[in-house]
């Protein structure tokens, strides 16, 4: 009502105007018409400024406030753990922004909304789970760290692990008010049903980002094998999946931006398969890219790196020292069973079995590794051939047994063995096998060999210089020793590969042990031929005779490794080809195409279907989880009054100036 005062004053003032007679009123009318045009705007602005000023003043005195919603929380200090899904499926774009960018922006807003003194921790749910920011009250730093979260991750999702890790961060929180905020696309590959939500004491908010996804197409698998019909050619077997049935999806094989092959793939039953042919690459960078031309929900899974290298499989010659028609009683029965069951993603292992006599007449040129399983000492010419094979880079695994006599072995193969043989002795009671400290071939952690025992063994001397014990008996004597000779690698197992002397073949760790050992011994294919998942560790062994190597990741970053020890390389977060340059220090650096490996996103990530609503999981979802807060408007209104007062004064100054301009003088 007060705002009407200027208008009222204007009207009252008009009523009380003094009257003046003027004969020249016609001239006055003309002048007013001209003046009106100029002054009307100023007058209107002046009136508006006065009305607004009084209105603002009245409003300010009334002490109004506005209710605003907090981005998160209730305005009280608290401890918050944010689980940020940085898996590949968060790379899906909506409205020009990826879900990852939305999640990051939301996390920043949440942290910004926290009052001083609050604590925050940020856990990334991409596999493997990582802690981006440990629980801290330095909110600025925590928010800044969010800038490091990539938008084009290739990782899988480990939501159960991420929630568990976040709850651990909250377990020692300083504040009683504890909150867990999950920012995710809630895709079902996140294994939401396995998440162990807190029973109480922690308020849980699950915020789903993005709407229903558009149809998606993705490359499920790509495997390169030599073309059996055309030497020097590779066959790239591709499997696609699509949410759209019956469509034709073009797929292209590219190398250095050049198209090597193209094919239309028809999707039937959600799956399409194709085989593309391209030349093998034996030297230099073997990288190539498969790409499907599709406008779909997720772009990251439309490309897949492949390696166009020959002999992707490890070729193993198995020398069976005690063949038997019954597989379980054959010396290599368990080995063959294990190799047949070896995971394909780790690269195929091709093997050929020969008896000792045949071995003596077999050329080793077509093999990468020779396994002597309880074989008698080979004849001299065969021993010479084996020595030359190892010196040239081949691998040799020797396993003892009843048919192994130390003396002839020492005489024929002594220099190839990483430890000297003494004699076979029974073990009563049986001796347990243990992973030796410093073992590199057998990955640390859960080896699956726990509980394995041997009731007979070949007593070995201490390893030769440069050799290393991977497995020990519980009395400390060596059970598995690895070493090298020339450019090749050797290994000696002081027990059998069947269950004649040990129950090792019964143990779950037998298969991994065998595969890792063969990969270690293989001179040219020490890395898996198939893709590995982002974040997984890859064992890289420096080739014998070299002092180190470099790994070049898909982003072009060089990871240098010095020394002769195998390396568990874990910087595998990005999808693509990881190239290996050997001889990085003193030798002439050279690309080793056989050591390159591919990291590919997990197939599950491409399934963008949304998980059941979180409330079905026993968690109350809340969108816009912040409470409302009342903010007083009076200071702003008083500031507005001051501003309007200045404007009003300026207009009042302007107005007479406009009047005074060009005042003529009449004589």
């Amino acid at each position: 009502m007060a705002a009407g005062l200027p208008v009222l004053a204007h009207l009252m003032r008009r009523r009380d105007l003094p009257q003046r007679a003027l004969p020249t009123i016609a001239l006055l009318e003309r002048a007013r018409a001209e003046s009106r045009r100029r002054m009307r705007l100023v007058d209107l602005l002046l009136l508006a400024a006065r009305v607004l000023m009084i209105a603002a003043l009245a409003a300010a005195v009334a002490g109004p406030f506005v209710s605003v919603g907090l981005a998160y929380g209730d305005g009280a200090t608290m401890s918050v753990a944010i689980v940020l899904d940085d898996s590949m499926s968060m790379g899906r774009a909506e409205g020009g922004r990826t879900l990852a960018a939305m999640a990051r922006a939301r996390a920043e807003a949440v942290i910004e909304a926290l009052p001083d003194g609050s604590e925050v921790a940020v856990v990334l749910a991409g596999e493997p789970v990582r802690v981006l920011a440990s629980r801290t009250d330095d909110l600025t730093t925590a928010a800044a760290l969010l800038g490091d979260v990539p938008e084009d991750s290739a990782r899988g999702t480990d939501m159960p692990g991420a929630v568990a890790r976040a709850l651990r961060e909250l377990s020692a929180a300083r504040h009683d008010s504890r909150r867990l905020l999950v920012l995710s696309d809630a895709a079902r590959h996140g294994l939401w049903e396995e998440v162990a939500w807190p029973e109480g004491g922690v308020h849980v908010d699950v915020e789903r980002l993005g709407d229903e996804p558009a149809p998606n197409r993705w490359i499920v698998d790509a495997m390169t094998v030599p073309d059996p019909t055309t030497p020097g050619q590779a066959s790239v077997r591709v499997e696609l999946r699509s949410d759209t049935q019956g469509e034709q999806v073009p797929i292209v094989l590219l190398r250095d931006g050049r198209e090597l092959a193209r094919q239309q793939v028809t999707i039937r039953g959600g799956v399409g398969r194709a085989i593309l042919h391209a030349p093998l690459v034996d030297e230099g960078d073997p990288s190539a890219v498969l790409s499907i031309d599709a406008e779909d929900a997720l772009g990251t899974d439309n490309r897949r790196a492949v390696l166009l290298r020959s002999a992707a499989s490890i070729r193993v010659l198995l020398v069976d020292g005690d063949p038997h028609p019954t597989r379980d009683r054959d010396e290599l029965g368990y080995v063959v069973r294990a190799l047949d069951a070896a995971p394909r993603t780790g690269g195929p292992i091709a093997y050929q079995i020969v008896d000792p006599d045949t071995f003596a007449a077999t050329s080793l040129a077509d093999f990468d590794v020779v396994v002597l399983a309880n074989a008698p000492a080979p004849p001299s010419h065969a021993a010479d051939g084996l020595r030359a094979f190892v010196e040239a880079g081949g691998g040799l695994l020797s396993a003892v047994g009843d048919r192994v006599e130390p003396q002839p072995w020492e005489a024929r193969l002594g220099e190839l063995l990483p430890a000297r043989l003494r004699s076979s002795v029974p073990a009563d009671p049986p001796l347990a096998l243990q992973v030796a400290p410093g073992a590199a071939v057998i990955l640390a952690g859960d080896s699956g060999l726990e509980g394995a025992v041997a009731h007979r063994r070949m007593v070995l001397d201490e390893p030769a210089p440069g050799a290393r014990i991977e497995l020990r008996f519980e009395d400390g004597s060596p059970a598995l020793v690895v070493g090298g000779h020339g450019a090749g690698r050797t290994a000696l197992l002081s027990t059998t590969l069947d269950d004649g002397w040990t129950d090792l073949p019964y143990r779950p760790g037998f298969l991994p042990l065998l595969v890792q050992l063969l990969r270690h011994l293989s001179p040219r294919a020490s890395t898996p031929a198939g893709p590995i998942e982002p974040g997984a560790a890859v064992t890289l062994s420096p080739p014998a005779g070299t002092s180190g190597f470099e790994v070049i990741d898909p982003g072009g970053v060089h990871h240098r490794h010095e020394g002769t020890e195998p390396l568990a390389f874990t910087e595998t977060g990005s999808a693509g080809v990881y190239r290996v340059i050997v001889g990085a220090r003193s030798d002439t650096p050279a690309e080793d195409p056989r050591s390159a490996f591919v990291v590919a996103p997990p197939v599950d990530e491409s399934d963008l279907a949304v998980a059941p609503p979180p409330e079905l999981l026993g968690v109350a979802p809340e969108r816009g989880t912040g409470a409302t807060q009342e903010l007083p408007l009076a200071p702003w209104l008083f500031a507005l009054v001051a501003l309007l007062a200045v404007v009003e004064a300026l207009l009042r100054i302007t107005r007479p100036r406009a009047r005074r301009q060009e005042a003529p003088t009449i004589a």
Binding site: L17, P18, L27, L28, R660, E662
Partner: protein, 298 residues
């Protein structure tokens, strides 16, 4: 003497000599030169006889010498016939913050002229105008006629009566009769197109026209402050105006109005003088008469 003529003003104006720019035709001999050639004492020229000329004017001596019929021409002294036109429309009733009303000031100026003219034996008459010609006192030279002239000039302006200057001046042109001096005292506040055209008509008919543009300083300067409601004197609509806001524009319009009036009058062959009510009448008359003298008046 009627109150319209301030004795002091009359005394000061008495010494002024009114001279006409042109010689006028008069019935009475006087100090003014007449364009009529005739029975007079001052020979001017010979010219060829034309049929219709008075044969008494033939110069027989010249005929004898040159065998040509020529006629003698003489310059004749004659009386001045002055018509004093007073605007008595509503706008002339305006009085500024100081000084006389406009119609009073105009009457004073015309009365002074009448006093002088009659005093020197010339004829003076009065016509008052508003929408049309009102009072009319025919020109006479008798001293007793001055009283009638002054009485006619003394009648106050009628408030609210509109001006139709064009119509009134056309009427004046019809009534002014023979050539003479027509002096118009008016505020000229008739802004219609062609309102001043009759002035040219008067000049064309041989009259020496003097326009005394009577305005107050308030009308010229608009010296008032602040918002006010302005009221017209001839029935115009009231106007609420912030004086400060329009002063500049008003003065611009007034300058344009004055310039237009001066330009129209001089273009028609009339003499123009701005007669501000805050200036003394003799100052105004001295200015207008001196300009007449420069043009050939005695």
């Amino acid at each position: 003497m009627p109150e319209v003529l301030d004795p002091e003003v009359a005394r000061r104006v008495r010494n002024l000599t009114l001279s006409a720019r042109r010689t006028v035709e008069g019935l009475m001999s006087g100090i003014h030169r007449s364009p009529h050639r005739g029975a007079s004492v001052v020979f001017v020229e010979h010219r060829d006889y034309r049929p219709g000329d008075d044969i008494r004017l033939l110069d027989w001596r010249a005929f004898a010498r040159t065998d040509r019929d020529v006629v003698k021409r003489f310059e004749q002294e004659t009386h001045l016939r002055a018509t004093l036109v007073l605007d008595r429309s509503g706008s002339m009733a305006y009085r500024g913050q100081e000084g006389p009303r406009k119609d009073e000031h105009a009457a004073t100026l015309l009365a002074a002229l009448a006093y002088v003219l009659i005093g020197q034996g010339d004829a003076a008459g009065v016509l008052t105008v508003d929408e049309a010609v009102g009072n009319a006192v025919p020109p006479r030279a008798r001293p007793a006629h001055l009283d009638a002239v002054l009485r006619a000039l003394s009648a106050p302006a009628a408030h609210g009566r509109p001006t139709d200057l064009g119509s009134a001046l056309r009427d004046v042109a019809e009534r002014a009769g023979r050539r003479g001096v027509v002096t118009i005292a008016s505020d000229l506040l008739d802004l219609r197109e062609g309102a001043l055209d009759p002035i040219a008509h008067l000049v064309t008919r041989g009259h020496d026209v003097i326009v005394l543009h009577v305005l107050t300083p308030e009308e010229i300067e608009l010296p008032f402050d602040g918002p006010a409601r302005y009221v017209g004197l001839e029935g115009e609509a009231d106007m609420d105006v912030d004086t400060d806001a329009v002063r500049t524009g008003y003065r611009r319009e007034m300058a344009r109005f004055l310039d237009d009036a001066r330009r129209r009058c001089t273009a028609a062959g009339a003499r123009y003088a701005l007669a501000r009510t805050d200036e003394s009448p003799e100052h105004t008359l001295a200015a207008i008469l001196s300009s007449g003298r420069r043009r050939g008046w005695r």
